[in-house]
């Protein structure tokens, strides 16, 4: 099945210990990489910036990255301009906004309706109270060039919250729970398993998920250097095909439960199954006394009806450029728009999957 000329067989791929690292973990543990002739070592990373730098330095062949990161790197927004591409979307959705439990009683009539998200209008009175005391409501995310960051801003703005009345911080995901508990932050927008963790620990309530804010938007992508793909075209294709198989394997619910068990192991997330499993099974824990919300696409990895779910489309990239500009991360999007087809490589994705029937579920 593998191409006859594989430029490189032994690869190092970076991942973050998060729920949506599932496709990489599954591909490794269930032999999907091997199926395509690859010997992949997964290397756990602790920060996104180091993940990026290691890919740029060739210490990693490829990595799981936040969807805006290849754009930021290719445009030189976060340092040196280093052309980076994504040929494959690993997951959609998966983030959520969780607020400190102490604010729940202040929501009054805006409290969670059955199965419904909470709009940021619900926290307007809390924001105003804080401002009256000369303080600001404080939110944390994990990286500036992330959908977490932009989705949080969007949720706040859509609820009529003046962003100048909010303090935004970047803190490591592993510190979110402690910061919420100590009251140093009032809420956060991150991916799994941290939202479920906060609800299980009765420290927070999950107000909205990324599915409520930007429906089905790419969250994590496979990123490699543009030069790496040029030097290793067949290897890149094999890597994408293996991950695509893993994503499709993750479509079935019983398989997802298995994946949750894998992820909870000590070499990956090292966390309780009852924290990791809910989002993978389409269930969003919201608040201690309430039944969870049913969101089937909470963690979305593939769709047998539509191969485009894993395609890094230029339209999605264009949306990101818009929000990056709105958030002050990008001055002039016109140059970036021209670059986009060289970053979000929908052409490569199509090339990989239209020649044969590999897109079809196995």
């Amino acid at each position: 099945m593998a191409d006859s000329i594989m430029e490189k067989r032994s690869l190092k791929v970076g991942f973050m210990p998060l729920t949506d690292s599932a496709p990489l973990v599954v591909a490794k543990e269930y032999g999907f990489f091997e199926r395509y002739g690859l010997d992949v070592t997964l290397e756990q990373q602790n920060s996104w910036a180091t993940m990026r730098d290691k890919v740029c330095a060739g210490l990693l062949d490829g990595a799981q990255m936040l969807a805006p990161m290849p754009i930021a790197s290719s445009l030189g927004l976060d340092g040196q301009r280093i052309p980076m591409i994504t040929p494959f979307v690993l997951s959609r959705n998966g983030n959520a906004i969780t607020l400190s439990q102490k604010w729940y009683k202040h929501l009054d009539e805006h409290r969670l309706g059955e199965g419904q998200p909470i709009s940021a209008t619900a926290i307007a009175s809390i924001v105003n109270k804080k401002i009256a005391n000369g303080e600001k409501l404080r939110f944390a995310t994990v990286f500036p060039y992330s959908c977490h960051y932009y989705q949080l801003l969007d949720w706040l703005s859509a609820g009529g919250i003046d962003l100048s009345h909010i303090e935004l911080l970047i803190i490591p995901p592993g510190n979110m729970i402690a910061a919420l508990k100590s009251g140093e932050i009032d809420g956060f927008c991150v991916g799994g398993p941290w939202n479920a963790f906060a609800v299980r620990a009765q420290l927070g309530f999950t107000a909205a998920t990324s599915s409520d804010i930007w429906m089905d938007f790419p969250e994590k992508v496979l990123a490699v250097l543009a030069s790496w793909q040029m030097q290793n075209p067949n290897t890149c294709k094999a890597l994408v095909q293996a991950l695509n198989d893993a994503c499709h394997w993750l479509e079935s619910i019983p398989n997802r439960f298995e994946a949750a068990q894998l992820l909870s192991g000590s070499q990956y997330l090292n966390m309780d199954l009852n924290i990791i499993a809910p989002s993978l099974l389409g269930s969003c824990l919201t608040y201690k006394d309430l039944p969870p919300r049913q969101i089937n696409t909470y963690n979305q990895f593939a769709d047998s009806e539509s191969a485009s779910l894993n395609c890094p489309s230029i339209d999605d990239g264009r949306w990101l450029l818009e929000v990056m500009q709105k958030s002050g991360h990008l001055d002039n999007p016109s140059h970036a728009l021209l670059q986009l087809p060289h970053i979000y490589r929908q052409d490569l994705f199509r090339q990989y999957f239209t020649a044969n029937q590999d897109v079809a579920p196995r």
């Binding site: 040196q80 803190i171 910061a179």
Partner: protein
């Protein structure tokens, strides 16, 4: 001699984030106390952020594998704490490639051995690069500010011309006179005019 030196040149304050104490201690030996004042931070997350605020270091040094790196890097982008230059270190002997990246200006990294003159030059370069970057950012912000104030004055002029039926020159002098009489900036006067116009349901837009 050394006393004289430190009198004229203040010590550079380094905050060493202690993620892996063995590696950090070896690194700390590269810094002599004639030029450097070393402070240690063993905290993570919010506590580390507080530590940075209190200790006001000139430069932060952190292990490349530390989970706190994104937080410290972001101090440049978010304004909640004064931005600080951050230098990464890695004891990985195979980090030749990262050194290549440093040459290309990606980020400041200390890799391999901790030969003190080399480490010091990396710190100096990181500091200089950071200052240059901050200056550029400030210039950009100033230019933007200038452009936006020109735009506001322009709009106020147009409103006056349309609603007070005066020439462009008269409108300009009108704004300038109010500004001088009240010792305000022309930009602020223009803003007041526009908000008043808005309130009156004026037709400037």
């Amino acid at each position: 001699m050394s006393i004289l030196k430190s009198d004229t040149q203040p010590l550079l304050k380094l905050l060493l984030v202690d993620y892996n104490s063995h590696k950090t201690h070896i690194l700390s030996e590269a810094f002599d106390n004639e030029h450097y004042q070393i402070e240690w931070a063993s905290a993570s997350g919010m506590s580390l952020l507080h530590r940075v605020r209190e200790s006001k270091p000139d430069i932060i040094i952190i292990d490349i594998e530390s989970p706190d790196r994104d937080m410290l890097d972001s101090l440049n982008m978010l304004s909640t704490t004064a931005p600080k230059p951050v230098v990464m270190f890695s004891e990985d002997q195979n980090s030749q490639v990262i050194q290549e990246l440093v040459k290309a200006g990606v980020s400041a990294y200390i890799t391999g051995g901790v030969d003190s003159s080399r480490v010091r030059s990396i710190i100096d370069i990181a500091l200089a690069r950071f200052k240059e970057h901050q200056n550029l950012k400030q210039e950009l912000a100033d230019t933007k500010q200038k452009l936006s104030s020109q735009k506001v004055i322009e709009q106020a002029k147009i409103w006056l011309m349309e609603n007070k039926h005066c020439s462009e020159k008269q409108a300009y002098h009108h704004i300038r006179k109010i500004a001088m009489d009240n010792s305000q900036k022309m930009e602020d006067v223009a803003r007041n005019i526009l908000s008043l116009a808005n309130m009156l349901g004026g037709s400037h837009g």
